[in-house]
Symmetry: C2
């Protein structure tokens, strides 16, 4: 038996008990006549004491040689601690050690195993097994476990069934790029790893499973941006005999349950906003509504003066920065530089100070009088002491730019509080979006999303205007879930494929099994999928997902700990009927 208790368990009530503990040496303090060791395991830290007078000499000598991260087992007596440590749960006691076994020695770790480590990102990933010993990472993984357990508990109590769908499926050209898996037994053929279990969950609805969920790995072979992983985890859900309202209520229930159980937060009914409103008010389909700073459209009050920059713009739009009038001229210039960075891409920024005395001072005073500027203040909701920032240009671009500015300023102003939760349903997404590269419409959600009732005709005349039964759940400015009510009849599905540029033959080759299934009695159905990595990070009050993934890959898609991917044997390639065709 390696231990009688864990390192997080002993209290004053255990005093005089003989105990055996095992763990890692966090710290050694050697005062010659006394040695203190902090012994660590997953559950906490317990102080060990070795003392010239009471500890056998051989053990004392061994203790003096202990290094950081040695794995040891000790037996001793729980005694009251002279100087108690109220910061740790075992702070009232220490162990007077009688026996010590070194279970394993340890080389000096390449970075400190402390909450604030001196290790950089790459080093921590290479020695991820050491990084996981640190509380921030360990606690994130335990937190993730708790969230996943609560998801399962809640959905099971709502009669959802977790069904495992296959990982070795079929490649489809639609959507992102697939990872593929060559088949040895079927020469020249490939499986694909699922980007999501979309078609399988729809088939489960056709199969009468009624309420399905799965916490499942998905795969996308995309060029990685920061904080994207080639493999990621979804909470994938689908329901039969439902309308949008049913889905929204069910998963509002799940999200509220998580906020309550995990964060101890009660949240009121989730507000809903159309996609069009979100774009108009926040320039973004996943607005952070923990704070205001709503967009004020200024075309009516800022155009038709002599300022040509505004006159020629499709959209003139501003926000009021709370207390922003305190910014110096230099700070405002820096802000203008910030919006002109290539990542944001604005050509410039007009600003207007709202002075405490009610007067205005703008960078375009030549063109606008005090009455004009008062209308800007009204449109943006500015109050005395605020700064109004105004951008102009192409509608879509300028909204994205002002949204970036809004988020940046909110961050600087401390308005994005990690312990505050503001969920929001964004509804009525467009069915299609125009893709500049391929010069055709793509499904904004996916090709199985149903258009709003009565809008099927509009597909032929104004495809970009067709709205879908599609919705996103947004939390604190992040899309944590998205879904739709699906098409469930073969004819509508065929029309959709046609509009997405599939020939009937291509549609049949790719999705024939789904269209076949729709002929055998498909029920109305819809669903949603949550990104678990992101959800967990946000509930944990963090912006980045990496610490919530046990073994993440770097931005080149590599696992630098195990050094994967890697070349494989010629023999393996031959068995798979493959040749590597390196670019010259």
């Amino acid at each position: 038996m390696y231990r009688s208790h864990t390192c997080g368990e002993l209290r004053a009530s255990h005093i005089n008990t003989e105990v055996t503990l095992s763990g890692w040496v966090q710290k050694v303090r050697d005062k010659g006549f006394m040695v203190w060791v902090d012994l660590r395991d997953r559950y906490g830290i317990t102080q060990l004491i070795f003392d010239e007078e009471r500890t056998p000499k051989a053990i004392m000598q061994q203790a003096e040689k202990l290094g950081r991260e040695f794995v040891i087992q000790v037996t001793g007596t729980v005694i009251e601690r002279a100087s108690k440590n109220p910061n740790i749960s075992t702070g009232d006691i220490e162990i007077l050690v009688k026996e010590l076994t070194i279970l394993n020695e340890a080389k000096l770790p390449p970075f400190t195993i402390e909450d604030d480590t001196d290790g950089g990102d790459e080093l921590r990933m290479k020695y991820r097994y050491l990084d996981i010993r640190r509380n921030p990472v360990k606690n994130s993984l335990v937190f993730r476990h708790k969230v996943a357990q609560e998801v399962r508990r809640y959905l099971s109590s709502e009669e959802f069934i977790e069904v495992e769908t296959p990982y070795l499926i079929k490649s489809t050209p639609e959507g992102a790029r697939d990872f593929v898996v060559p088949s040895r037994m079927n020469e020249g053929q490939f499986y694909a790893l699922p980007q999501s279990p979309q078609t399988f969950k729809q088939l489960l609805m056709v199969g009468g499973m009624d309420k399905y969920f799965q916490i499942v790995k998905c795969f996308r072979d995309e060029d990685l941006r920061a904080d994207r992983q080639p493999e990621f985890t979804q909470i994938d859900c689908e329901m039969a005999f439902v309308e949008q309202e049913d889905i929204l209520n069910t998963f509002e229930g799940l999200t509220r349950h998580l906020l309550k159980e995990i964060n101890g937060v009660d949240v009121a009914e989730f507000p809903r906003m159309t996609y069009d409103d979100a774009m108009r008010k926040y320039g973004n389909d996943k607005p952070d509504i923990r704070f205001g700073m709503e967009f004020g459209e200024l075309n009516a009050v800022a155009q038709h003066k002599d300022f040509n920059v505004f006159n020629s713009a499709e959209l003139v739009v501003g926000i009021a920065v709370p207390g922003g009038n305190s910014y110096s001229r230099k700070e405002i210039d820096k802000l203008i530089d910030w919006v002109k960075r290539p990542q944001v891409g604005a050509l410039g920024m007009v600003y207007c100070r709202y002075n405490d005395d009610g007067s205005f001072k703008s960078s375009v005073d030549k063109f606008y009088n005090q009455d004009d500027l008062a209308k800007w203040a009204e449109a943006t909701g500015a109050k005395a002491g605020d700064l109004i920032c105004v951008l102009s240009g192409d509608k879509n671009k300028v909204r994205a730019q002002l949204s970036a500015l809004r988020m940046e300023l909110a961050e600087r102003l401390g308005l994005r509080k990690s312990n505050e939760f503001a969920p929001l349903w964004v509804v009525d997404f467009p069915l299609l979006e125009w893709d500049e590269d391929t010069e055709r419409y793509h499904a904004m959600h996916h090709p199985f999303t149903s258009p709003k009732p009565g809008q099927l005709e509009l597909l032929n005349t104004n495809p970009g205007d067709v709205k879908a039964n599609a919705y996103d759940l947004v939390l604190n400015g992040n899309e944590i879930g998205g879904g739709s009510i699906r098409i469930f009849d073969k004819d509508t599905q065929a029309i959709m494929f046609d509009h997405l540029g599939f020939t009937p033959e291509e549609a049949k080759a790719q999705f024939g099994f789904l269209m076949d299934a729709f002929e055998y009695g498909a029920p109305p159905h819809g669903g949603i999928a949550f990104g678990l990595d992101r959800l967990v990070a946000i509930l944990g009050g963090q912006e980045t997902i990496r610490d919530f993934i046990a073994f993440p890959k770097n931005n080149a898609g590599r696992d630098i700990m195990i050094d994967a991917p890697a070349p494989i044997d010629d023999e393996q390639l031959k068995e798979l009927h493959l040749k590597v065709n390196m670019p010259s």
Copy 2:
């Protein structure tokens, strides 16, 4: 709103309530003046009634046109049923229909959606979404969900943390063949799909996670035997600071919990048996101990007579078949033919009848007298009325043959009762096993398994005799779980790799990260993995796993529903730097 209730919910207490139901048409009985429809969903069946006198004429006409598996929505009043059906939960009531909407029509399904279907295996797999509508498959999937939930609930309550390990890892030549995934971003390199999360769970122990589990898909590119799948699900577990005894107790607890919660069965402490004993008594390392028929070794009593077949054999071994003396000569001849089938491979079988009067009649009476045969009876535990079956030859082969015969006879005798559960720990497995093909030793469990204390030296002299800290959990003749206490120091691990034929360079290239990890303070650890597909099937009283997998692949590794694997585009191949190299 598509429904106010499900089809399994309404009772006599609901009579006179107006309800809306949705579901599939299971059956239509049309008597002209009345039409009855059985409406089905996941939760049950409810009878609908359309009646000339009380149902609007248009609805009545529509009802007459309903076909099997149409998806409909009805609104009506719950009324008392004239002839109650005690076999279904809703059998006291029926719905007098006022409104009927056909939500989707259905072509005639290719097989009947009944508990006993007329569909063959391939047809059912092609239309798996229809097969899932059938109770046997649907209930199996719901059952699987319940088992998985109970596993998670139990392990979480024991402080295990579910950690997701990566799917895109590194190929290793050890063990079974990997599925590989070409990397687009890392030219000419490949990920591998995990055969198990073995090294990652060990690294989690090095990382201090202490108690880990995961219900996880694993992948093996093996030539498929019946009832094997290229992707399968494991309950993967690992613990730190444990000895074998801790692991056995913990997972005996899990298994007992499942048998109690899922099957309502209380099982006594699990017996334990060494591998050597299991082979000697049952010829098998996963003996079914729901019944006796233990092997009796007969070398001492059957050799050194004039029967050369036995004299030249390494092992002469028999079993007593309860009541087998009732077999006719013809039946016994058939049994002899059975053991001579190539799948079993015996050259012949000697038998001995144990007559009710206490006398014996054997097929080798020329060589053995009544006293000799009485000793056979004693060794095999035969009683009057039994038949003793005796095989002889090479020890390992003859044990396997007699084990096959024992299982076959038990099946025929009805001794393998699906509602009886006999778990068994098999312990002290050999560390290594000789591989005839490669003419070297392989790790019987895996290369990280630790030898029994003090047996490391024996590796140099008698490697085949070294026993491991390895154990299997056997249930009703199936291995449902297996694991070991791991090596946790670099030196022992290096010795193991050496004995398995790895050069130090190869070991470093393949497992360098693990051996590195062992230098930074690895705790003693061990674990176990359960095959979930098999476990669920056995708890469900079934022999085959296929109905417990939502979308299984066939014996050629194909998903015949979605037609995968399939060729991919030249463009995709080019992006992956690959050429298909078809055998000519």
